[in-house]
C-alpha cells in the first residue's frame, strides 16, 4: 500500500517547479514514500540502526528512512490529500505523504535524525516536534524560531531523539487552520534496550475532529466546538481498524489528542494504567487504575494492561456524541411530542426522511436512510448480533486465545463459550 516515489518523479518535481533548488541539493534529499490507502500497515522490523519492536499505527504506517553517516534521514511532504474517513466518505484534507495523518516517525533513543520537509501546500507551514527536547532553532514555531516554510521550499530539521517516548508532529504556522485540515503525525522513540518496558503489542493513534457538512468534502476550519466528524487517525467507525491481541499479551496503546476538546477513552472488560506521557514515563508509584482516561488537548498518553479477557471489547470515546457520525446535532427530539415540525426540517435535508413516531432513535441504526452524497450514517456498523449503531471514535479490541504472536489478521467475531452470554428469560 506504500509506494516509493524517487525525488525525480514527485518531490523533485514540486521543487523544480518552485525553481529554487539546485541539482546538488536535490541529490541530498532522500526519497519520499507515500501511502495510497488508509489501511493499517503493520510495520516491518527496522532494516538498519538499533533494533526495536515497531508500533502499529491504526490506519497508518511508519515512514522509512535512509541511513547516511549514522544519521536517519526522513522526508515529509506537506500536501493536500484525499482521506477516506470510512467506506462511503472521503474528506479533502491536508496531510503528509499522501494521507492524513502523516506517517509515524519511529527511531531509537539517542538517534540523530535529519528530517526534510517539502511544502506542497498553497500556503506556508512549519513542523513543530511536540514534546521533544531539542535546540530552540529546531522547534518549528513560525516567526519565533524560524521563518515559515514557503510553498515549494524544502527545509531541514536536524536533532537528536534524546528521550524514549511518544510524541507528535504538527504545524506551528497558521496552526488552527492546518490542524483543522488534518496536518499531524506521531513520533515514537524506542528505548535503546528493547527489553526495557517491552510489550507484546504496541498500538498508536491521534484523535482528531472535522466539521464536514453532510454532502461536502472540505472541513470548515474555524469551528470551535461543533465538530461533526470525530476520528482516530482521520478515520471514523466502522472505518477504524480493530486492535488485535492474543490472550495474555501485554498491550500498550499510545494515544494523542489534537482536537479542540477532551476525550475520555474507555476500554471494556479490562482496567489499565497510564505508563507514559509526552513528558516521560510515569513512575509506578504514581499510576492510577482506570477504565476511562480523559485526554486533554495536546496530550499524549501511553496506556498499558494485560489482555486477560477473551472477547470483542468496545474501545471508544465516552462522550456519546463522539461515537456518532455527522447529522447528530440538528435532529430534534421526537419522543412524546408532535414531531411533524421536526420531520419537515429533516425532509428539507433528506427528502425521503420518514416519520419514525415516538419510539426513540434505535431504529435509525437499522434503517437505510437516503443520505446526502459522501455522508456516513449517524449510527452504523454491524456486529454478530445486529446493528451496533455507532460511529466516530469507536472500534473493537479483539482478544483471542489462538491468535498467533505477531499476527494482526482480523479473527472475525468472537464466539463466547456456552453459559457466558446474557439470555432471554424464557429460555
Amino acid at each position: 500500500m506504500v509506494s516509493r516515489r524517487g525525488f525525480l518523479s514527485s518531490a523533485a518535481g514540486a521543487l523544480i517547479g518552485a525553481g529554487a533548488v539546485s541539482r546538488a541539493a536535490l541529490a541530498q534529499i532522500p526519497e519520499a514514500p507515500l501511502a495510497e490507502s488508509p489501511a493499517t500497515e503493520p510495520p516491518p522490523a527496522p532494516p538498519n540502526g538499533r533494533p526495536y519492536q515497531p508500533v502499529v499505527t491504526l490506519n497508518g504506517w511508519s515512514l522509512p528512512w535512509r541511513l547516511k553517516d549514522n544519521v536517519k534521514e526522513f522526508h515529509l511532504i506537506a500536501e493536500a490529500v484525499e482521506r477516506e474517513i470510512a467506506p462511503g466518505m472521503t474528506a479533502h484534507l491536508w496531510g503528509y505523504n499522501g494521507q492524513s495523518p502523516g506517517p509515524t516517525i519511529e527511531c531509537v533513543e539517542g538517534d540523530r535524525v535529519r528530517i526534510f520537509v517539502t511544502n506542497k501546500l498553497p500556503e506556508y507551514t512549519t513542523v513543530h516536534w511536540h514534546g521533544m527536547r531539542l535546540p530552540h532553532g529546531m522547534d518549528g514555531v513560525a516567526g519565533l524560531t524560524q521563518p515559515p516554510i514557503q510553498p515549494g521550499e524544502t527545509w531541514v530539521y536536524e536533532f537528536e531523539m534524546s528521550r524514549a517516548g511518544s510524541y507528535m508532529y504538527h504545524p506551528h504556522a497558521d496552526e488552527m487552520l492546518q490542524m483543522a485540515m488534518g496536518m499531524m503525525g506521531l513520533i515514537v522513540v524506542h528505548p535503546q534496550d528493547p527489553a526495557q518496558r517491552a510489550v507484546d503489542r504496541d498500538f498508536a493513534f491521534i484523535m482528531n475532529a472535522y466539521d464536514v457538512e453532510p454532502g461536502s468534502y472540505t472541513p470548515r476550519v474555524n469551528t470551535m466546538t461543533d465538530f461533526n466528524t470525530w476520528t482516530w487517525n482521520s478515520r471514523a467507525f466502522p472505518g477504524i481498524s480493530p486492535l488485535i491481541a492474543r490472550l495474555g499479551d501485554r498491550i500498550r496503546i499510545r494515544i494523542g489528542n489534537l482536537t479542540m476538546t477532551n476525550h475520555p477513552i474507555h476500554l471494556h472488560g479490562h482496567s489499565f494504567e497510564v505508563t507514559g506521557t509526552d513528558g516521560g514515563w510515569v513512575p509506578e508509584s504514581a499510576r492510577w487504575p482506570e477504565v476511562t482516561i480523559d485526554l486533554g488537548v495536546g496530550q499524549m498518553r501511553d496506556i498499558e494492561f494485560v489482555a486477560d479477557a477473551p472477547g470483542d471489547w468496545a474501545f471508544h470515546c465516552h462522550k456519546t456524541h463522539h461515537t456518532m457520525n455527522a447529522m447528530g446535532h440538528e435532529v430534534p427530539t421526537y419522543i412524546g411530542v408532535d414531531f411533524e415540525e421536526a420531520a419537515q426540517k429533516l425532509r428539507r435535508l433528506i427528502p425521503q426522511y420518514m416519520v419514525m413516531g415516538d419510539r426513540g432513535g434505535a431504529h435509525m441504526a437499522a434503517m437505510q436512510m437516503q443520505l446526502p452524497e459522501n455522508t456516513l450514517p449517524m449510527m452504523t456498523g454491524r456486529g454478530p448480533y445486529g446493528p451496533i449503531g455507532m460511529g466516530g471514535m469507536f472500534t473493537v479490541f479483539k482478544v483471542r486465545e489462538d491468535q498467533a504472536r505477531g499476527d494482526y489478521d482480523d479473527p472475525g467475531w468472537y464466539t463466547p463459550p456456552p453459559g457466558t452470554m446474557a439470555y432471554r428469560s424464557e429460555t
Copy 2:
C-alpha cells in the same frame, strides 16, 4: 417511598402484554420494587449475604434483591418515568424502576448476581455494566455482545462481582438518546471485610444533564454542548439533598459523570483525595490533595476526607453555568449598555420582565419573576442570610458536632460561634 410491586401487578403485566414469556419463566423473575419519590433513602443494612455498610444515594435508593441458591437476584425495569428535577419542575425521562437514575445496585466482592432486565420502553435497549470485569457475553453492547432487548422482553445477566469499587450501569444501545433521556444507575461493590477502607459516611451520585426548553417536559436528545439542566442524580439545586455528617467523620463520596463534558467538583472548607476509580483503588503513593477534582465523561471517582470543619459548606460544579438553571444562556448583557433591546427580547419570553437597569444580575436571585410553566428560576434557593442565587449542580455539605452517628436528618442551617463571621466594618 419505595413500594414493592409483585410481578403480577406490574412487571408481569408488561411481560404478559408482550406475549412472550411463559408462566414458568415468570415464576423465576424476582419482584421489581419501584420508587415513587425523589427523596434520599438511607438504605437499610443488608438482610442476608455478607454484611456491609450501605451507601447513601443522593435522591435515590438501593435495589432490594432476592437471595436464591446463593445468587443475588435483582430486577431492573427500563421504563418511562416522571422525575421531579426540583420542586416546580418535572421532566419526562426514561429510567429504571420508577425514577431516573435507576436504583443503586449494592453487593459484596465475590457475590454472584443475576440481574433481570425488563424492557418497557418503546424501543430496544441493553444494559452495560460500566467498569465491571465480566465475560464478553455479559457486557451488554448491542450488536457486538448480544442482540438488543426488544420492547416487552426480559433478559438476564449473570456474573460475579469480582472487584470492590464504584461502577455504573447504562444502555449500550441507542445510547446517546437513552443517556440523554436519563437511563443510568450506580453499582457499589463493597469489600468482603467491612473494615477495609471503612468510612463513617458513604455517599454516591451520578452527574447528568438535560436540554429541556423552558415550558416543556421532554429533553431534546441530540444536544452536544448547550444543555440547560445540569443535575446530580437528575436533581437540580435546590432539589439536591444535602450531605449530612458529624464532625470528625471520615467521608467517602462516589461520583460518576454521564454528561457530555467535564465537571470540576469543588468542596468548600476541606481538601480531599481521590481514593478510587471505576478501575480500582488508587494507591496512597499516587494520590493528590485537591479541593476541585475534574471528572471526565464516563469516569467514576471516589473522594475521601475527614469532615474536620463544622459548618455548611458549598459543594458544587465550578463551571458557573452549571450552577444555574435554564434560561441562563440567552439573556443578554445589560451592564453599561443600552438595555432596551435586551429587555424587549426578554419580554417576548417573559411578559412581566422588568428592566433592571445597569446594576448587574444579582437582583434576579431575589426577584420572583413570572416564569414559563414547569421552569425553575435561573438563580434560586434561600439560606439563612438571604438568597443563595444558585441552581443546577449545587448542594450543601453540613458538618455538625452533635450529629449522631448514622443520623441523616437535615440539621437546618449552621450557627457560627461569635467572632467567626465576616462583618460590616462599622460594627
Copy 3:
C-alpha cells in the same frame, strides 16, 4: 505603576457616599492602593512580617498590607475598571483596585489576615477565598455564610492563612456574571521556612475568558461556550508579559483556571511536574512528567521544572482557538470552495476585506486588515523571523545564560548558535 490612595480620596469617598460608616470605623480601614496599568510589577520584598520570596504576577501586582497588632490588613475595592487586554483593545470589566484581575494577596503560612472589602459595584458581591481552610462564617458564600455586601458597604474577613500554597479569591454572589466580568485574584501563602520548596523564579496567573463582540467594550455575561477573548490575567497575546529566566533556574508557575472550560497548558522545550494544587503539595511519588497539563475549571496547579534549554519557548493553551483573538469563529472556510459568498459576509463586517483565494489562512497573520474599533487582529504578534500569527493564551518563556538572577527585564529575541537552526535545503 501602583499608586496609593488614602481612604479620604477614594475608598472613604465611596463609603461616605453610602452614608453608612462612622468616622471611627473609617480610621480603622487601611489604605487601598490601586494599579493604573496592566504592566507586570515584580513585587518588592516584604517590608515587615516573616520574609519570603515574592511571586511575579503576570501583568499584575501584589497588594501592600498594613501590619497592625501582628495582623496583616489588606483592603480590596470591588469596582468597575478599564482593562487593556492588549495594545489596541480595552475591555470594560469589573475587578479590584483598578484592574482585573485584582492584586495578588501574598502572606506567610500562619499569618493572621484582616481583609477589608469595599463594594463600589452597582450590585451586591462577596469574596470567597477559594481553597482556603477557614471558619464557615468567613467563606463568603452569599445567603449561606453571610448576607451579601451591598453597594457602598465595607465588610471585613479575618482568618489565619493556615497552609502554604496557591489559592484564588472571587465572588460567591451572582458569580456567573461577576466572574464573566473579570472579578478574581490570586492568593499565595509562602512557607514559614523560605528554603522549603524554594525556587529561583515564581510566576502566577489566572486564566479567564470573555465574550466581547468586535467593536464593543463590555463582555456578554451569559455565554457558556462561545467565548472569543481567551486571556491570562485578562491579557491576550501579544499583551501577555514574557516569563524571563536564567539558564539553570528552578521555575515555579502557579496557574488557576476561572474560565468555563479546560485549558491544556503546553510548554515547549522542557518537561515539568505538577508539584502543588490548591489542595496542598503533591508528593513526589505521585507526580507525572508532563509537557501539557490540562487544568479543569476552578483548579490551581503549581508546575515546576529547571530552565535547562536556552531560547525563546512558546508557552500556551493547546486548544488552537484559544490562541486566536476574536473573529475566529465566524470566518468560513475558503479552501478549495467558491469563496465569494464568504467574502461577502466578511465585507459586511470589514468593508476592505479582500478575497484571499484558496490558499489557506496564513496570510491573515501578515495582513493589516481594517478591523472594527477596539478589536485585536485574530492572528497577530511578530517575532525575529516574521509574523507569529497567534493571539489569546500565548506568551514566550525566555531562557538566557546571561540573565542576572532577579532580573526581569525582557532580553529581546534569542539568537541561536550556528548550526542549531532549521534551514532551507539549498544551503
